[in-house]
Symmetry: C2
C-alpha cells in the first residue's frame, strides 16, 4: 500500500502525469512506444514508470520481448478519497464557524 504523499509525489511530475493521461485513454502500451510519444529516452521513461509502479498507479506485464504498461486506478481512487476527506473536514469546520457567528446575533 502506498501512502498519500507517495501517490501525490508520483503524480507531481509533468512526465509522469503525461504517462498517466496517455494510459487512461489507452488499453495498454509497450515501453518503447511510450518513450517515443514522450520524446525522452527509453531509460528515462522506464525510470518514471517504475515510480508509478511503486505508487501502484501503473502495472507492468511482460509479453514476449515487450513489457506492457497499464493503468491501475486503485491508488488514484485512494488519492481522491483523501482529498474528499480533507474537504469534508474543511466544510464541517466552516459550518461550525457559521453556526457560531449566527448564534451571536
Amino acid at each position: 500500500m502506498s501512502t498519500e504523499a507517495e501517490i501525490y509525489k508520483a503524480l507531481g511530475d509533468p512526465t509522469r502525469l503525461e504517462i498517466v493521461k496517455r494510459l487512461s485513454s489507452k488499453r495498454s502500451c509497450a515501453i518503447g512506444e511510450l518513450c517515443k510519444d514522450l520524446g525522452i529516452s527509453r531509460q528515462g521513461a522506464r525510470k518514471q514508470l517504475q515510480i508509478l509502479v511503486n505508487a501502484n498507479i501503473a502495472s507492468l506485464k511482460c509479453v514476449g520481448r515487450e513489457t506492457k504498461v497499464a493503468l491501475d486506478i486503485t491508488s488514484l481512487q485512494q488519492a481522491q478519497r483523501f482529498i474528499a476527506q480533507l474537504e469534508k473536514e474543511w466544510e464541517s469546520r466552516l459550518l461550525a464557524l457559521k453556526n457560531y457567528v449566527e448564534s451571536d446575533k
Copy 2:
C-alpha cells in the same frame, strides 16, 4: 492558476501533507505555531508553506507581527476533478472493451 502536476507535487511531501491535514481541521494558525507542531525549524516550515501558497493550496495573511496560514481548497478541488476525469476515461474505455468482447460472442 496552477497546473495539475504542480498541485500534486505540492501535496507529494510528508511535511506539506501534514500541514494540509492540520489546516483542514483548524481555522488558521500562525507560522510559529505550525513549525512547533511539525518539529522542524521555522524557516523549514516557511519554505514548505511557500510551495503550498504557490500551488494555491494555502494562503498567508499578515496580522500584526504574526502571519496567519489558512487552507485554500480550490486547488484541492481541481486536483480531485482531474483524477475524476482520468477515472471517467478509464471506465469508458473498459466499457468499450466489454462491449467489444460481448459483441464477439
